[in-house]
Subunit: 261 residues, 6 copies
Amino acid sequence: MRILLLNPNMTESVTAMMVESGQSVAAIGTELLPATAPRGMPYISTRAEAQIGGAIALEMLADHEGQVDAAILAAFGDPGLLGARELFDFPVIGVSEAAMLTACMLGRQFAIVTFSNSLVGWYRDCVDLNGMAARCAGIHALDLAFADVAGDQEASAERLVALAYEVVRDSGADSLIFAGAPLAGLARRSAHLIPVPVIDPVAAAVKLAEALVALGPRKAAMGSFQRPAPKQTVGLSERLTARIAQSDVILSRGHSESFSA
Amino acid sequence: MRILLLNPNMTESVTAMMVESGQSVAAIGTELLPATAPRGMPYISTRAEAQIGGAIALEMLADHEGQVDAAILAAFGDPGLLGARELFDFPVIGVSEAAMLTACMLGRQFAIVTFSNSLVGWYRDCVDLNGMAARCAGIHALDLAFADVAGDQEASAERLVALAYEVVRDSGADSLIFAGAPLAGLARRSAHLIPVPVIDPVAAAVKLAEALVALGPRKAAMGSFQRPAPKQTVGLSERLTARIAQSDVILSRGHSESFSA
Amino acid sequence: MRILLLNPNMTESVTAMMVESGQSVAAIGTELLPATAPRGMPYISTRAEAQIGGAIALEMLADHEGQVDAAILAAFGDPGLLGARELFDFPVIGVSEAAMLTACMLGRQFAIVTFSNSLVGWYRDCVDLNGMAARCAGIHALDLAFADVAGDQEASAERLVALAYEVVRDSGADSLIFAGAPLAGLARRSAHLIPVPVIDPVAAAVKLAEALVALGPRKAAMGSFQRPAPKQTVGLSERLTARIAQSDVILSRGHSESFSA
Amino acid sequence: MRILLLNPNMTESVTAMMVESGQSVAAIGTELLPATAPRGMPYISTRAEAQIGGAIALEMLADHEGQVDAAILAAFGDPGLLGARELFDFPVIGVSEAAMLTACMLGRQFAIVTFSNSLVGWYRDCVDLNGMAARCAGIHALDLAFADVAGDQEASAERLVALAYEVVRDSGADSLIFAGAPLAGLARRSAHLIPVPVIDPVAAAVKLAEALVALGPRKAAMGSFQRPAPKQTVGLSERLTARIAQSDVILSRGHSESFSA
Amino acid sequence: MRILLLNPNMTESVTAMMVESGQSVAAIGTELLPATAPRGMPYISTRAEAQIGGAIALEMLADHEGQVDAAILAAFGDPGLLGARELFDFPVIGVSEAAMLTACMLGRQFAIVTFSNSLVGWYRDCVDLNGMAARCAGIHALDLAFADVAGDQEASAERLVALAYEVVRDSGADSLIFAGAPLAGLARRSAHLIPVPVIDPVAAAVKLAEALVALGPRKAAMGSFQRPAPKQTVGLSERLTARIAQSDVILSRGHSESFSA
Amino acid sequence: MRILLLNPNMTESVTAMMVESGQSVAAIGTELLPATAPRGMPYISTRAEAQIGGAIALEMLADHEGQVDAAILAAFGDPGLLGARELFDFPVIGVSEAAMLTACMLGRQFAIVTFSNSLVGWYRDCVDLNGMAARCAGIHALDLAFADVAGDQEASAERLVALAYEVVRDSGADSLIFAGAPLAGLARRSAHLIPVPVIDPVAAAVKLAEALVALGPRKAAMGSFQRPAPKQTVGLSERLTARIAQSDVILSRGHSESFSA
């Protein structure tokens, strides 16, 4: 199966790190198709940037429609996730969503550690939006710049792991999530140094995307995630315009259809 | 004072209706500056469209920066609100936020009535995001098309009021919100027919925007809504690019400064 | 418009401070009518006192009925607010309610700072009652006596501002509320020393009262805040007795009435 | 032990009904001391009346201080409860609180049935204030006048029991509370007709009051229910004035005192 | 009345301590029938052990059916409580449930202090399961072994009381619960050293069990705690097998039965 | 990888149905090892039975330790799950947990449909325990006996699908979970008849178990799910006794260990 690993940020090197992390756990037969945002910003780190980056993510999804079996929104905070889930027929999974759902299978509360304080507000919104506030034992950050971490994860790894250790010890968290695209892979490298399960959001998302593809859920034709009605738009990208306009009709079938085993 | 009445939808006639509704309650000296989205869609009605429309709203805010004292995001669901609040130095208020906060001063629970079922999922997300789920007695809708309502509010007014009456009677709600831009003004016209306070989101937003301007809160220089650090972006509108890039530095002042009354 | 600024405490000098704070933001045409409790206590600071003071507030409201367009319950904790909202036909707003709703438009979480630890329990009840627990980043207090603060706000201003600064820095709050009547005006004086928006509950209440008067919501004739049925009472103040007894009948109108634009 | 059965309403016949209900479950040695409000209203049925009635309840408690081991606030909605708990040294229990806590020992969710729709809003506030919203399967009412029910419980008993039966069947509630003073005793009389445990709030309160007296908890000298500092008041009843003024000092003892078994 | 004091742990000396604590508050006429688990573990301290110990508790309850009027599940965490409440016709009360409900009558929030950190996770689950998270100001523990505390409460009493004092002072809790069977009786011995009410879970449970027996609630024949349908099982204890199998039919009576006062 | 498909019920034919459902989505290389409870009951359907069945599940897990890479607790309601997760070193996943987490990736709210009303109370507890109450749009059931459904799923399939269709249409749910072991496979067979994604709990659990095995989280050595300390027990099964007793020591490693990439 082909899974789109969509980085709504513009930094190719970070996309590469995430592909590596995802590849390390992918099943045989799973191909990760990387895509890096052609416009936007090097790294989304605020609510405003997530608003913009999420819209760009929808464009990118429209560009890859038909080529993939599922897509991963690979920026912690999951910009554009709910809209994507509504608009497209293939499963779309966010890396923060994937990390938190995975944490739910490993204990009662998770803690989140990231590299920059500027991310904490947006990440907290994301935890709330997922209804996970009661399961989050805290979000903690160093105060590093994106450029420094993205360029050389090694340089800050020791400090991040030390912070994670302290957070786990002091918060009573049952698992630890390393959040932020440039931390991809750190979970695996540091698992032996942190006394609870450590979760890599990209790795978790790859496995959950594979799971969804295997389960093969149909696109909703009822409820609040049903395919929206076709609509004419102005000034959007070509493929996104087409996606919103065409909406090849999926009728809500009644159960009058006879049931056949 | 000048308040931007920002319609992230492209339908000018609806902007006009909202201006009229807002003007009817505006204080002497308040000028409403209307703006209609130059691109996007005629009417935002899904999560995906809100993701896109919210990004367009940020562009529009950047275009009007320096010309207004506050801005109203005039689409129920408040696309882009939190990002706008973070990015700009003037107060930005959403019409759904304004309606719900006003309802809090008029009773324990409010009900929401709108014209199309397709809006309900997105509106419910908005209620949740505002932490208002416990105060919402329900979201109810007819199944009308935007074009029909926008073209002629009169045609559907009686059905909407009848639905509102039933919802109030059956849900125990203490107030009623008519949601959706093409319903602007309906609250005032139907107040005598509905036995609880009826709230017009645009009117409520105008009064709360005036309140905020008068209170003159400073732009946060700490916390999760502080002005983001400057950042280079690619492919965004000229003014939005500048806004994100410049970020004329507001330093977090320590309290070492002497206190003077 | 005339707005009753009702101080359910007996300290005239504090009423004066609050009038000054309110006046500083009031619109042209808004007249604040001050009223200080004729009996009760110098300063409400416990749940028991709020129970008593709230009943006195209802008496005071009955005494001013017909003379004002709206009333502000000007003691943080809002003693008697819900009863007042139910019993009277004009809008009644509490200062703590106003402060918290205003904070909702300025960020995700607010912190509360006050002058005496003895107030914290009651204030926390008030936050809970308003359903704002998830938006409150903490309530913090010095341990000053009312008499000292009421007599000379200046004396404690520096310590209060220092505490507020620390709370904002450590709690991640997006705004700060100075709670407690004798702190009226402190928000404005210290805004330049605290790195997030600072909210004066009285000022916020004046603006929200003006907003409600302009919006002109009808008195509920259905729901849980409808005007209570007339009732004979014994031993209450003359005007309150009359208010509860007469209840000039507002019938719940059906929507059979024809709709007219 | 002597337990004050305090009816904050003025209707003596209802007090008598409640005494009878309480007496039927009281332990040997428990004496119920009835007290009926000397002023206020025949029956509290709104938030405003509860504000006033709660203040009267505090007066009544002050009048009986020293004569009783505990007190029961015998009006569903528990007017004045938290203030009473703070101000007095003996345990004070509310009948709605007692009913809900008892229900917690008998299943997951309880339903509440009462005689008048006008009570529902206030009762719902009470459920919320006790943090019991998630355990409440609904509040349902007939539309009877207090006078009718108080004068002759028999006349409405069959309709109330029929409503209770329907509510239990349709809501999935695990227990049923008959709320409202004039329904005292109905639980016992109808237990064989309702298929889940039926709770009489007064009876529950008598047993929980006995429990608290036996457990002999000390008066808090720390936390938010510690005895308030002495305060001069104006215009309150003689005994309540004294209670608030004197506050015979209970010092917070440190644990430096040696521990002795 | 006879109340089974069921210790699902195997340590007889701890059962004896709990009987003594319970006896000290029991009413005249209340007989506590002690029972100590014949198999399982000396002391339940994890979720896995609670799963096993709860099943053993059901066996013990089946063994004592017919001999008692009510039963107390005397291990903090209440292993097996909900199953017991469903399966048996007499009231079953857990000691942690009893402690928390009692705390609700003594203030807004309680703190829990116990002797071993290994208990905290399980106790927190128990607080959550009872819907009491918002009323719990924290769970704090020393790091003592069960054997040490069970053998000689005296040895650790001073440290436990000192911890309780600190927790109360720092958390703002309104009451304090000493949790864990080997701490039975400590509440009474230390009440004069801790400035808020101190709750002994066993003592609280005895009083609430007496209350329930006096109130005489019927066994549910509807709702989620109705007596389960008879079922054949394999390999369970003789009496438990019989209990699950026979289920002497309690039919859900309709309210067609005539109502008789 | 080998995954234990543990049926804590005694009905072999149901185990077979679940294996078939799981096998249909399992990855190449995944072997499902079925195990059916050797004692207990044909089918767990109450809280009491879940208490007993969960303890039996722990025995079964101990019996298979060392033979599998992960285990699935294959009874909706997940009896014994948290204890298992604490006690064993390999991942243990419950089918209801798996179904609900999967539903979170497919929309905002899920509805649950099962075959017997007697299951609803226990299932609702399970939803609550997972913190999923806000995401559950309702639990609905037919009133069929286990024996009938287990013997012949075909017989009731049409009625179950019709109920599911109605629930989806009326509740606004975004996905549908068929709960209850004898409904294994029904989701797949009926997906074309229900207009939202339909989730088979066993299939979901197989995919999530595969995901966890691939992610390879370490066993917690800190937090509330760390491996319990060794303990001597009496009367438990041989392997469970050994598991609890030995607890081959996993020390909590400090981060003093040098970090190596």
